[in-house]
């Protein structure tokens, strides 16, 4: 019997064009659709001080017309085929997608080839987009949870550029120039820094010919060296407390975590499933709903005990070591110290006593089910192929089932011991004061705020 994994691996057609463009094509004939994603190895970790947010701003500029697609004709090309298009930027990657009727394959490839080499960066468009992006940043700041996430990440990292938010710091967004945007675009948008993924109702040979047709003339470029900083080991607990107007309290506890290629990554993923329920690994689709988590340790310790109204964990596949973050929304009227004590206490218990076989079995069943659920469309499959190829290698995606199955109780316990110690921890609080007030945090029910040993 052929496993799903073998099928996945065998059906991905891979090629590298002479200019270095990597191409991944997978046939999926369940609907008359095709999804095209073009991935670039550039994200906010490639940004120097003063240029934070530039990767994401460049992404926005790359929807605003090219030499051969006039600005007023950008919209409509994909819509005429019932298609959707989008893009996103994160710490390691920038990506663009179209999903439409299979007949639109040429249009999708044409758009991506233009985007790679011929974007315009009209000065007035750069200016107009500056305020759109600042509006995106400020919309995020309206959400206390996002605000706290940015503060915790910036506190957890000292040296590595993962410390600044992908949206950028406001001061940089107010200052970055058109020339800097264009220079950054020219530096990283090259075929040898990209992966093109096609998934859908296509013939791989024919599709590859079309890729050749649209991309072969784009010249290879020298990609300059990357920022090479390695984050130093954290030597003690760090803490950030935001006391601001609001109506609910939010807690985040972050730990430096393994990169996707680290042997500890999948044991940590299982540990997260045991602590907060398995989310899956599709950044595009898996995080839009709640995970199965009612039996998870932190749900039982916090939500079922009435300390928090919600708890979640986030461990995402990244190129360099990033963060494992556990978040909780404190229930109204519960002392902050009690929430933090219960959360940290559970993490300490996992570190001290390890995990049980039945817990790991359940985590694996959850992760296995998520692998099926998160690849239910050509768009989601194409995302996963490109995502993993960009941060490490597509082979990781096609071997996920095996990597999850291979996780042992000992490996999870060892990962908990390695990553959850107090000195690797950053604790962040958003503690609300009533809207309209300006003073010190109100004395909370049940006792004073602050850390709990």
């Amino acid at each position: 019997m052929i496993s799903t994994e073998q099928q996945a691996r065998s059906t991905v057609r891979t090629a590298v064009l002479d200019n270095g463009l990597r191409v991944l094509i997978q046939e999926v004939h369940t609907a008359p659709l095709a999804s095209v994603w073009c991935w670039y190895k550039v994200g906010s970790k490639d940004e120097s001080p003063g240029l934070t947010g530039i990767s994401h701003w460049v992404e926005h500029m790359n929807f605003k017309g090219t030499t051969n697609i006039p600005r007023d004709q950008v919209k409509g090309i994909i819509e005429r085929f019932g298609g959707t298009w989008n893009g996103y930027t994160w710490i390691d990657q920038t990506t663009y997608l179209e999903t439409a009727a299979r007949d639109a394959l040429d249009q999708m490839l044409f758009i991506e080839s233009e985007r790679m080499n011929n974007c315009l960066y009209e000065p007035e468009e750069c200016e107009s987009e500056r305020t759109v992006i600042i509006s995106e940043l400020q919309g995020g700041e309206n959400d206390p949870d996002q605000l706290l996430d940015i503060e915790v990440t910036a506190t957890a990292f000292r040296a590595h550029p993962y410390r600044h938010p992908t949206i950028g710091w406001l001061g940089d967004l107010q200052r970055i120039t058109r020339e800097e945007l264009y220079e950054y675009y020219r530096r990283y948008y090259a075929p040898n820094n990209a992966t093109l993924v096609i998934v859908g109702d296509v013939d791989p040979d024919a599709a590859l010919c079309r890729v050749e047709h649209y991309f072969r003339a784009i010249p290879e470029r020298h990609i300059p060296g990357r920022i090479a900083t390695r984050e130093p080991e954290q030597l003690g607990e760090r803490r950030v407390t935001l006391v601001r107007q609001g109506t609910a309290a939010y807690l985040k506890v972050a730990f430096h975590a393994p990169a996707v290629t680290d042997a500890d990554f999948f044991p940590m993923l299982a540990l997260d499933a045991i602590l907060t329920g398995a989310k899956g690994m599709n950044l595009w689709s898996s995080f839009r709903g709640a995970p199965p988590q009612r039996k998870s340790r932190l749900y039982r310790a916090l939500v079922e005990r009435g300390l928090a109204s919600a708890v979640s964990g986030t461990l995402l596949p990244t190129e360099h070591p990033f963060l494992y973050v556990v978040s909780a929304t404190a229930r109204e009227g519960v002392a902050y110290g009690e929430v933090e004590g219960a959360l940290v206490g559970e993490l300490e218990r996992a570190r001290r006593d390890g995990i049980a076989t039945d817990e790991l079995d359940r985590a694996k069943r959850q992760l296995k089910a998520r692998l099926v659920f998160e690849t239910d469309s050509v768009t989601n499959i194409a995302h996963q192929l490109g995502f993993f190829e960009t941060i490490a290698a597509a082979d990781i995606y096609t071997s996920l089932a095996g990597r999850i199955a291979a996780v042992t109780v000992d490996a999870v316990t060892a990962a908990a011991r390695r990553y959850l110690p107090p000195q690797n921890r950053t604790v962040g609080w958003f503690q609300p004061v009533p809207p309209g007030s300006t003073g010190e945090p109100a004395v909370e029910a049940g006792g004073p705020s602050g850390p709990v040993s």
Binding site: T247, A290, V372, D376
Partner: protein, 423 residues
Amino acid sequence: MTTLTTRGLAPVREVLPNGAVVIVKETATRPAVTLSAAFQAGSAYDPDQHLGLAHFVSRVIDRGTTVRSADDIADQLDNRGVTLSLGLTRHVLTLSCTCLAEDFQPVLDLVVDIARNASFPEEEIAKRRGEIITGIRQDEDNPAIRATEALMQMLYPDAHPYGRKPKGSVEHVESIQRADLLSFHRDRFTPSSLSLAIVGDVETERATSEAVRALADWPATPTPRLVPPSVPRPSTRRRLVIQMMNKVQADIAYGFTTITRLDPKYYTYWLMNNVLGQYALGGRLGDSIRERQGMAYYVFSSFDANLAEGPLVIRAGVNPSNVDRAIASIDEEIDRMATQGITARELRDSKQYLIGSLPRMLETNTGIATFLQTAEHFGLGLDHDLRLPDLLGSVTLDEVNSAARAVLAREHAAVVVAGPYAD
């Protein structure tokens, strides 16, 4: 998939003697099945003194039945990697989940047990009450939610079921007792109130017979459906500012009431809305407010016709210094569409887009289940997916433009601003 374009979804629909509707569509895209059990038990059914009751029910219904404890249910779900989602709209409360094909039968049995036999244990009520109250507090600090809820209140005054807050207030939630939850459940969770959709990798016959087996002995109970009162078209412009000085950005909600879902003009309004605030990056509104003026990251309009006249809502998030300019720009686009209409090219583009979107909409099991439940809710027929292209395709430019004249009038708009802004 030629079957999709020639024969359509062609789901199998069966009405049981007790009134329960079962709709099955077999697919083989992934070894998974999506279950969706929709009951006529939305927030519109909340009694006036207990606003938020349907929402409260949705938070406790899956925490224990007469035969399973909350912990048993948690085991059943978590061991299979299943998340049970409870969705609430004005008319419908839906239990939905996706499971592996191999788990279909036990998960179906679990969902039916929850729907039929929920026991609402006191200790679960206490826990979920606290979560709901925290959720309401979070909403109170969210300008987007504040603006939208206030707009709905303005559009649907006088305690109209569409104008009330689905979660109710903290006071309402504190007053709801176990007896209220049990009585809502008894009245609204009945076979004739249920439409169960099963979509995925399970043979049609097996899915149907399993569903019949699970539901057939559920006694029939008459369950009257609510027909919300018609909404008078306002004769003046109304405006409300909700000051939230702790926020950085202001949210604008700007809207009208429109038509019902069963109005023959529905497809006309759908196309009009697509041109106004959907097509590509937010239609005409996106072109003006985001693309040309750089004022907002998000600006769009949504049209949500229902059993009563639904709202057409324009939303934008802008810097407080741009609130007046953004509202003026919305007014301009409303005026322009009402007085000059849309162009033949815009109509053609939006038709091509919406008709062409169908295969994407129906690509996944969850997409199909949602589509089938909508068609069932409004009685659109099992062949709605096949008829939809013609329904959209036959809309004329005159029809869209006369709809725009009828509904888009700045002097009748309701406008809400929530954020760090003062008049």
